[in-house]
């Protein structure tokens, strides 16, 4: 998969901006008003830029298309044309055309977000599939916003209350999460859930700090921070937690398969739904200003029943969990 290899290198190994710009400019033949040839009579085009051709992008663009077409058939008044582009090195000779009447750009993933940022289109842009920390770095002007990929801390904490009546959450914070330390504590206080945490400065500390944490807490919240949660540490984290009868809350479907008790996360379908609603609302409003970045409105929950059974924890079914979590908000 040459493209993915290039993408890896491109994203993670090089100073981003310059390389990104070069790459992007190479594939742009035209950035002009000529695009209207391909999108006749578009009232307000939505341009979707994917970061690759992995299934996640395809599912989102497909669902988005369906959602928006549905809103077209519902609303006879204003129906918005939409176009979809994939950033793909295999098609580097293909021209990237930003249609004349583009009203909104949606980026899917980091590569697309950075590419659009480099182009400096001045067009309203919503970044999806970016973790909050990354999105906050990418967004530098008011005509950009985001639908974050990660779940709000409240949502994760509420899961803990469904697992145990007296949750005490353990957190291992690393390079990517240490700055959010105060948020983690503030929200815990608001929800009156006790929290213990440790700051992990180097990977060797994960073992000893985890051991301390597992003595103090009864639920471990895994965080999307690869400086702590990665291939080398995942065995220790999931096994030690299990051996201490401490269930783990993950942040992806893969975590549940690996041995976390439960994860709340936004599936591509959830993100597509949110994007569709966001786009139609924005284009309908006719406003130029974008709302502030938000966490994903829709999410899914998965439970590892084998782990639950082994730990002697009875969990309601997934739909009920989501219901219970929204009830929790209302209280």
């Amino acid at each position: 998969m040459p493209f993915q290899r290039v993408a890896d290198k491109w994203l993670l190994k090089r100073p981003f901006i310059r390389t990104g710009a070069n790459f992007f400019f190479r594939i742009i033949i035209l950035f002009s008003l000529l695009g209207s040839v391909e999108s006749p009579a578009s009232e307000g085009t939505i341009l979707v830029l994917s970061s690759g051709n992995a299934p996640v992008y395809k599912v989102i663009t497909q669902k988005l298309k369906e959602q928006i077409s549905r809103s077209c058939s519902d609303n006879t008044g204003s129906c918005h044309d939409h176009r979809l582009y994939d950033l793909n090195s295999d098609k580097s000779e293909v021209s990237l055309v930003i249609p004349a009447k583009t009203k909104l750009i949606i980026t899917l993933g980091l590569k697309a977000a950075k590419a659009v940022k480099t182009l400096n289109t001045g067009l309203p842009t919503v970044h999806a599939l970016l973790p909050k920390k990354t999105a906050d770095q990418v967004i530098t002007s008011p005509n950009q916003t985001a639908i974050y990929l990660d779940q709000p801390t409240e949502r994760q904490y509420k899961l803990a209350r469904l697992i145990k009546t007296d949750p005490h959450i353990g957190l291992l914070l690393g390079k990517n999460t240490a700055l959010a330390e105060n948020d983690f504590l503030r929200i815990a206080q608001q929800l009156s859930i006790p929290v213990s945490y440790r700051l992990v400065e180097s990977e060797e500390q994960v073992g000893p700090l985890l051991k301390e944490l597992l003595e103090e807490s009864n639920i471990l919240l895994a965080l999307p921070d690869p400086s702590v949660f990665n291939q080398r540490t995942i065995f220790n984290i999931l096994l030690s937690s299990y051996h201490n009868k401490v269930p783990v809350i993950g942040f992806s479907s893969a975590y549940v398969k690996a041995g976390a008790l439960i994860s709340a996360f936004s599936k591509p379908e959830d993100i597509a739904q949110h994007l569709a609603e966001f786009s139609t609302a924005f284009l309908h409003s006719g406003k130029d200003t974008l709302p502030a970045p938000v966490y994903p409105k829709y999410f899914s929950v998965e439970v590892n029943r084998s782990v639950a059974r082994s730990l002697g924890i009875s969990m309601p079914d997934e739909r009920e969990i989501i219901q219970l979590m929204s009830n929790d908000t209302k209280q």
């Binding site: 290198k9 993670l12 990929l149 690869p226 992806s252």
Partner: protein, 675 residues
């Protein structure tokens, strides 16, 4: 899988070991400060808690299970692994010498307790030649044990052949859980000197442990039984991709064990040499949560060198030689499939092939391997009939070469009254195949340097049937998680039939003079006798706080039975005393605010008659106390323990034999870990 990256761009050397299926995480970890992207949320990670790694909850189990976890291991102050098993209700431990131990459930054992399946990480360590386990030769330290699950009662359908009176299932720690360097030393009474080092690390997708140990002790003051052992053990866990994992373990040990008795012609005081090796490989594929498939291959090898000559006693008329040495090995291949058939039905099934081999010029009069192949088919269906009823239906069919095939069924019904209380009814049958010694023993006292037989010691003439056991249980499990209490009780009835008895057939011709008396006739093995055991057992574990723990184990039995001890004319031996009436243990531990941990254990075993080399011994009482002070440095931590063993009153008890006299022992144990 929604998002996958294949082929890392910049690999480290050790990735060369892999098959290249590294997930996005490895890439991230190399450069954790680059902005997080979406891959983190959509990429696969290895299945860590595969179905076989997950413990079945106790209230779903078809048998009574005692779990000895790290907290109990740490509190026990045990220096010898076998001493941990005193905590299991109904279990007895005998120290035949300072390095040879026997562990049995409900008595009825000699120094080679043949009634127990013992597994380390799924590998049976049962010695096919003489039976039992050469505990001191095993390449395993107490510090590497994650937990020991002891199934009290037969359970062949899930734990294989020889799960007769119980199963000891030892699970070692995953290397990723114990990363760093550990050094442990133990010094103390009875000439104990022990040093144990291990290094555990993670390199890419490989987690590994390398451990080395040297251990010596002088055994009983009253016996010639000093010993030393050194071993090397390795465990590796390699994650091929998110679904497939390889486990490999290997080890080698050797040691000298003194044995024998003063003025005993056939068991004089002498050193014996033990050697042991093993290798194990298991591939596990996780199919989906709750389901996996595994293939396992292992090989164990055991050698005991033990033979001697006596030129003096009958000098100048006779210089004779005798030996007990042997070699044995076991190859085993097994496939196991663990899966959820429907939401209410789980099935574990598998097939296994095994080759056991033994040889010994002194014990079998053969210098070539005697082989015995076995194949087996096993399965257990766990069927949740309703929210309150769980049915376990299991069985194993096994066929040994030159023996009739046998089927070991198991049926158990668990009735969950409410979230705290579960009742269990179970019935099961299991078999114990004769050991090579029982089937093929051929041992004689020879004139030194010749093959001239002076006296035959053991000659077996019968193709023995396996011993069988039928067990019926009424069990109760109280699981009061809110207060940290687990209470396990059972009433049981066990019937052991076709017992393998050591007899003398007086119709055999007498040896030539001067040994022409009945006392010099050889022993042989036949199927004879039965033993019935009725009893009541209690296991209690209470953790009133995360820092405190209380354990209690209790077993009360009534046993009756007899078997032949000689034929033509026949005479029987009574077996009623082979099972101690009362066995109990109590252990408590607490950690104070200043970090100091105090624990104490008390063990009680009624008078019992050990078979074979054992004696009828009076009550055993043992009181142990352990004090531990943990300490921490910047990149290291450790603990210092003072262990007092057998410091209570009446502590001069006899263990296994009348001449094995215990005294009190003091040990100092120090552990250091560098992360």
């Amino acid at each position: 899988m929604m998002y996958r990256r294949t082929g890392p761009v910049y690999s480290k050397w050790y990735w060369g070991l892999g098959i290249g299926a590294l997930s996005a995480f490895s890439v991230h970890a190399m450069d954790a400060v680059s902005p997080l992207d979406e891959a983190l949320f959509f990429s696969d990670i290895p299945v860590v808690l595969s179905a076989t790694r997950l413990k079945q909850p106790l209230n779903d189990s078809p048998a009574s299970i005692t779990v000895i976890d790290r907290a109990m291991i740490d509190a026990s102050g045990a220096i010898e692994l076998v001493d941990l098993l005193r905590l299991v209700p109904g279990f007895q431990v005998g120290h035949y010498t300072g390095s040879k131990f026997t562990v049995t459930s409900h008595g009825n054992a000699d120094r080679f307790a043949r009634d127990m399946q013992v597994l380390i990480d799924g590998r049976s360590i049962y010695d096919p030649a003489f039976g039992g386990v050469t505990w001191s030769d095993q390449e395993l330290d107490i510090d590497d044990i994650q937990r020991i699950e002891v199934i009290r009662g037969p359970n062949a359908s899930t734990h294989g052949s020889n799960s007769f009176s119980g199963v000891i299932n030892i699970i070692t720690q995953h290397p990723s859980e114990q990363q760093g360097l550990r050094v442990k030393t133990v010094l103390g009474g009875g000439g104990r000197q022990q040093i144990y080092n291990r290094y555990s690390g993670v390199e890419g997708d490989l987690a590994y442990r390398i451990a080395l140990k040297y251990d010596e002790n002088d055994g009983y003051n009253s016996r010639f039984d000093s010993s030393d052992t050194r071993w090397l053990g390795v465990r590796g866990d390699y994650q091929i991709n998110s679904q497939d994992a390889l486990l490999f373990e290997l080890g080698a040990s050797k040691g000298t064990r003194e044995d024998g008795f003063t003025n005993d012609l056939v068991q004089p005081e002498r050193p014996t040499e033990d050697r042991h090796t093993f290798k194990q490989l298991r591939w596990t594929r996780s199919l989906e949560p709750g389901s996996d498939l595994s293939f396992q291959l292992y090989h164990n090898y055991q050698e005991v060198r033990d033979d001697f000559s006596d030129p003096d006693t009958y000098s100048p008329f006779l210089d004779f030689s005798l030996g007990y040495g042997f070699e044995s090995q076991r190859y085993d291949l097994e496939m196991q499939h663990n899966f959820q058939m429907t939401p209410s039905q789980r099935l574990v099934w598998g097939i296994g092939l095994r080759r056991d081999e033994a040889k010994g010029i002194w014990t079998f009069k053969r210098n070539d391997w005697i082989t015995r192949d076995q194949y087996r088919l096993f399965g257990n269906l766990e069927w949740r009939l309703t929210d309150h009823l769980l049915l376990n239906l299991g069985g194993m069919y096994e066929k040994y070469e030159k023996k009739s095939g046998v089927f070991s069924p198991k049926v158990a019904l668990n009735i969950t009254a409410d979230e705290y209380n579960t009742f269990r009814l179970s019935a099961t049958r299991s078999y114990r195949m004769p050991t090579f010694w029982e089937d093929f023993s051929d041992q004689s006292i020879l004139q030194t340097g010749t093959s001239n037989v002076v006296i035959d010691g053991f000659i077996n003439r019968t193709n023995l049937k396996p011993e069988s056991i039928n067990a019926y249980e009424l069990g109760y499990l109280g699981n009061f998680q809110d207060i940290g209490l687990t209470l396990d009780m059972k009433l049981f009835h066990e019937e052991i039939n076709d017992m393998i008895a050591e007899i003398k057939d007086l119709s055999n011709p007498l040896p030539s003079p001067p040994f022409n008396s009945v006392g010099f006739l050889p022993f042989e093995h036949i199927n004879s006798g039965s033993l019935n055991i009725n009893g009541f057992e209690v296991g209690l574990r209470w953790d009133p706080s995360p820092r405190s723990m209380l354990h209690f184990g209790y077993s009360l039995t009534h046993a009756y039975g007899n078997q032949l001890r000689r034929t033509n004319p026949s005479a029987t031996r009574e077996l009623n005393n082979r099972v101690p009436k009362l066995t109990a243990s109590i252990m408590g531990s607490h950690q104070f605010d200043n970090g100091i941990k105090v624990s104490s254990a008390y063990y009680y075993m009624d008078e019992v008659t050990w078979a074979g080399d054992g004696d009828h011994i009076p009550i055993n009482r043992r009181l142990d106390i352990k004090l531990t002070k943990p300490f921490e440095f910047e990149k290291a931590d450790g603990e210092l323990s003072l262990i007092l063993q057998n410091i209570g009153p009446d502590n001069d008890y006899q263990d296994f034999r009348n001449d094995n006299i215990w005294d009190s022992r003091v040990f100092l144990e120090a552990r250091m870990n560098w992360h």
